[in-house]
Amino acid sequence: MSLSETAAPARPENAATYLRLYRQMAKIRAFEDNANELYLSGKMPGLTHMYSGQEAVAVGICEALTKDDKITSTHRGHGHCVAKGAEFKEMFCELLGKAEGYCRGKGGSMHIADQDNGNLGANAIVGGSAGIATGAALAAKRLGTQGVSVCFFGDGALGQGLLYEVMNMAALWKLPVIYACENNLYGEYTKVEEMAAGALAARAKAFGIETHEVDGQDVLAVNRLAEDLVERARKGEGPFFVVLHTYRYHGHHVGDINRTYYRSKEEEADWKANRDPITNFGKWLVAEKIATPEELGQLGEDVAREAKAAVDYALAAPYPPADEVDMHVYVAA
């Protein structure tokens, strides 16, 4: 695991970047708090999976990408979506199945995509997007766009054989793809060590893929590594594999409330109290005099207000009309 970047002194010339990293993380947290609330108050159809706790991963990586770079996301996909540049309004509309959602309400939380910002979509098949991200990298290479793609997936997805097939091809063909394994210690209700034999990092090394591990709660460490790997991938030095050690604060999905049978309240409390990516980064920003507590407080309030306004908008927005039901099955000729 790389040394914490936040142990080092801030570089004042990077202040805008730092604040943007903070803001993006705060936006994700605010989005999820509202999504959770929508579920709990019975206003959201279906279930959804909260990204809270993992913000530094999505933000640290996506801030190293351009808009044209592609990502593929997972069932726990709101964080990646926000980090890649999506708007709250279209996102909440999507979560509520409204016509103004990114996918006109057809995808919902588990399939939210944002083509314009290079997000090829969340995926409800665990591991199912490994081929897609790799294919996007192949396209970038063939088309000579200099694009890079990032495949986000959880520790649980290491169980899927597809990942190994595409890593092999990515390695053989030197594709500009970064496999970002978010190890949040659990796949649903099972601990990672009960699901994965051997060392996680060894899984990609076996294909000769350069592999890194990083503290996924340290947004600067993640971002520094990502900047480096993205740049190298653009130069044709990819693929890369990164294990990001992180934690999800909520249950597996919003309905997973009684979960002490698989993880303890103490463990959850410890991560929240001591390893929160937003709190810790905020403290560092203050200590390094990049921002005052008041400024951060204000930022938090702005973001919360923005989220609330988007929720209200989405709640009032119309559903897609009935005749859209058989639209988009095929591309119109």
Partner: protein, 331 residues
Amino acid sequence: MREITLSKAVNEAIAEEMRRDPTIILMGEDVAEAGTPFKVLSGLVEEFGPERILDTPISEPGFTGIAVGAAMTGMRPIVDLMFGDFLFLVMDQLCNQAAKTHYMSGGKLSVPMVLRTNMGATRRSAAQHSQSLHALVAHIPGLKVAMPSSAYEAKGLLKTAIRDNNPVVIFEDKLMYQDKAGVPEEEYLIPFGEAKVLREGRDITFVATSSMRQVAEKAAETLSAEGIEAEIIDPRTIVPLDEATILASVRKTGRAIVVDEGHQSFGVTAEIAARIAEKAFYYLDAPVGRMGAMDVPVPFSPALEDLTVPTPERLAERARATLRGEPVHAA
């Protein structure tokens, strides 16, 4: 008779069979302590231990393949596939391996395994967690396919499936897990290939699979109030299919609509309708109607999703049109 949920019926079926036969094991994701996301298997690991109730990694092709091998060598594995949509991941192991082993080996090897999975939309789970894919496996010789329509059927068919010496795929409708039905305390099995006449009627036959039974029953009630008496047949297993019971009904009523929650095109309604149309041809007073799910990926939006599945209202309307002799083409 006591009433229990479909979920409990499944749980009982597995527990009873596992007590009887020590070669039965169950494997899948989060089947042990968690008892599956639907909590269908709660309590089993406490009784049978983690050696027989195996939590697997997220490796559907892998653990299905392991089940095939274990089945070939003395075990009777039950595979829990969390969502029917994941069938696409295990098709090779199920259809190229499990389904063909007995035949390819000239009868020497066999694969007594059960793959339990689910089906059913309208849970707002979108396109990859809502499919009803039973038609796909029904097309593959060597597999049997059961579709319980209530807690009673769920228990009896699952017990039969577990004792069957062939690979059996059983689809539970995930929207029915909390639905209750009368289930005897005493042991019973439901033989495969025996349809059940759920309601007698003289005017039209509804052939309805799985939860479409409820759709058919509600439609039949509405129609009955209008003087139209529908007969309802639940095939219970679509492979083997009890053609005789279906044909006998249609020969009596002269009219039929087949209702199933899989996509309509190239699905189960096609097979059953085609057989009726061919084999009850001279008895038919109207074309055989078909109502499947719309040929669209399942949309997330509640405003759209509910339009994609057959409903009692639409079935009743279709039945009336059939009786009026109007063309009853799919939309």
